[in-house]
């Protein structure tokens, strides 16, 4: 059963020596099951903060997050996280990394859906010949695929991805975008994907959420009405270009606002 996410009046304020800083102000968003949501916005707009709240790494100042009527307060295997820095355990092989979640007590007691053959997930991300390699022998893209397989192996309802392809070169990034969509095609999940790249967001998402910064708010939500499955070729279609331009325009406005504010402040 796929689960949706409800973000309900989330506020996040940091108080420090320099006064208080509102990272997130009144964020409300309903994500349907199996939707692919991309969050874009200028740096510091709170996208990663929002992801960390969804993941349960930090508590919001106020507000609630629900996954299928159950409130989120802590990290857990129902929400898989893929980090920008991969966070693949360097002392374990690919196989040991992917099966790590399944060897934890929390997942051994779970439903029979969890921890289907690890081989399945390793193959799903295309790392079949690298099972016994250590992360230090892998490229960035490969490490990220290990991270994705590892998250998948505990059968989460939701995938939270924090600029996962940010550290990769352009070709690898393109390849990973397509791989991700292919993987999702076979095993559907609800996805919350944070990125800087408007093209990436347009290519991957069913809806793109654009955030403004200081305070962090949802400025606009733009649907991407291009059917799945999507291939690299669609990036040159007029439909894609139009939607991308729309999103780009709003993002650039927000970026400009932020720049003006920082040069005046």
């Amino acid at each position: 059963m796929q689960k949706g996410i409800v973000i309900d009046h989330i506020h996040m304020t940091y108080t420090g020596i320099a006064g208080s800083f509102t990272a997130l102000e009144d964020i409300n968003l309903t994500i349907e099951p199996r939707e692919f949501i991309c969050i874009v916005g200028p740096s510091g707009c709170g996208k990663t903060t929002l992801l960390n709240i969804l993941a349960g790494f930090i508590d919001p100042t106020s507000g609630h997050v629900y996954i299928d009527d159950r409130e989120i307060r802590e990290p857990g295997p129902d929400r898989g996280v893929v980090f920008q820095q991969y966070a693949v355990f360097p002392w374990l092989t690919v196989r040991q990394n992917v099966e790590f979640g399944c060897t934890l007590s929390a997942n051994r007691r779970s439903s029979d859906e969890t921890c289907r053959t690890i081989d399945h997930f390793i193959e799903l991300v295309g790392l079949k010949n690298f099972e016994d390699s250590y992360p230090k022998e892998l490229s960035g893209g490969m490490k990220q695929r290990v991270a994705i397989a590892r998250a998948y192996a505990v059968n989460p309802d939701v995938l939270l991805m924090d600029e996962p392809f940010g550290a990769l070169d352009a070709q690898t990034r393109q390849f990973m975008q397509e791989s991700l969509l292919k993987i999702l095609d076979q095993e559907k999940k609800t996805v919350f994907f944070v990125t800087h790249g408007v093209e990436e967001a347009t290519f991957l998402a069913s809806r793109v959420v654009i955030m403004s910064t200081n305070p962090g708010r949802i400025r606009e939500v733009i649907p991407v009405e291009i059917p799945y499955p999507r291939e690299a070729g669609i990036k040159t279609t007029p439909e894609f270009i139009r939607i991308r331009a729309d999103i780009e325009k709003v993002v650039r406005e927000e970026f400009q606002k932020q720049k003006d504010r920082s040069s005046n402040g």
Partner: protein, 272 residues
């Protein structure tokens, strides 16, 4: 897949190259010590050092053979070895426990830091007179000095390694559903192992360095004791033999720990 075969061939050539490199290193090792021995003898022959005071390589060698034959060398080595082993083991275990507490709990660190910095700067040798008064002249004061010698350097290495743990692995563990115990045993501990081994190397080094001083607390057995006895009877060969033995054993033990280190940290990305 032809690629894999090629990879294996490249790997084999690389392994062969590594082996050659290692043999070269061993070769250089022996040559450099041979040069030292040569210079030693030359200094005596040319009168740069008093040949009566400075034993020849041969004399030291003879002393080694004599003392091994009558078992006295083994007795001394065993006594020293056991003291270092106990001092080092207890010191390391304590360092791991306290290192963890200091690194993990900020309150503990703030409380203990100043005290640690004080004792870190205090050489173990300075404690010897105090130990004699407290504990007499048996094994206890020597072992305590060695425990002290190995504890502080290891402590710093270990608590630094805990402080510098990357929190992202802990987050990754949490999001996969790990409990606190699981995080400790399966995420934190594996990251600490290389640092613990580094701490071992440092501790062992300091321990051996302190050994002779520790054995000055009236010891009958032990390499340090052997050297003091040689000093009292003006026997140069056993004295120099003692120095060579301490150096050699220290080198061997360090080599062993380094070999363990290489195997245990095979997964790490290193600069070379």
């Amino acid at each position: 897949m032809g690629d894999k075969k090629e990879d294996k061939a490249i790997e084999k050539r690389f392994d062969q190259k590594m082996r050659k490199e290692r043999m070269k290193k061993v070769g250089y090792f022996f040559v450099s010590f041979a040069i030292v021995l040569f210079v030693w003898e030359m200094c005596r022959a040319l009168g740069l050092v008093n040949p009566k005071l400075f034993p020849s390589v041969l004399a030291v060698g003879k002393s080694f053979v004599t003392m091994s034959r009558d078992g006295s060398l083994q007795t001394h080595m065993y006594a020293s070895f056991m003291r270092v082993l106990v001092g080092f083991s207890v010191g390391i275990v304590l360092a791991i426990i306290f290192g963890f507490l200091i690194g993990w709990f900020q309150v503990v660190r703030l409380l203990i830091d100043p005290v640690i910095n004080f004792f870190r700067s205090l050489p173990p040798i300075a404690l010897i007179p105090l130990m004699i008064i407290f504990f007499g002249i048996g094994e206890t004061p020597k072992i305590i000095v060695l425990i002290y010698a190995s504890f502080f350097p290891a402590l710093v290495v270990i608590y630094q390694s805990i402080v510098s743990l990357d929190p992202i692995y802990i987050r990754a563990g949490r999001t996969l559903g790990a409990t606190d115990m699981e995080i400790f045993r399966r995420i934190i501990l594996p990251q600490l192992v290389p640092h613990i081994i580094t701490a071992c190397r440092v501790s062992l080094g300091v321990c051996w360095a302190t050994l002779v001083a520790a054995e000055l607390i009236a010891a009958q057995k032990g390499i340090g004791a052997m050297m003091v006895e040689a000093q009292n009877f003006f026997q140069m060969a056993p004295l120099v033999l003692g120095i060579v033995m301490i150096g050699a054993i220290s080198l061997i033990m360090d080599g062993i720990v380094r070999a363990v280190e290489r195997r245990v940290t095979a997964w790490q990305e290193k600069l070379s």
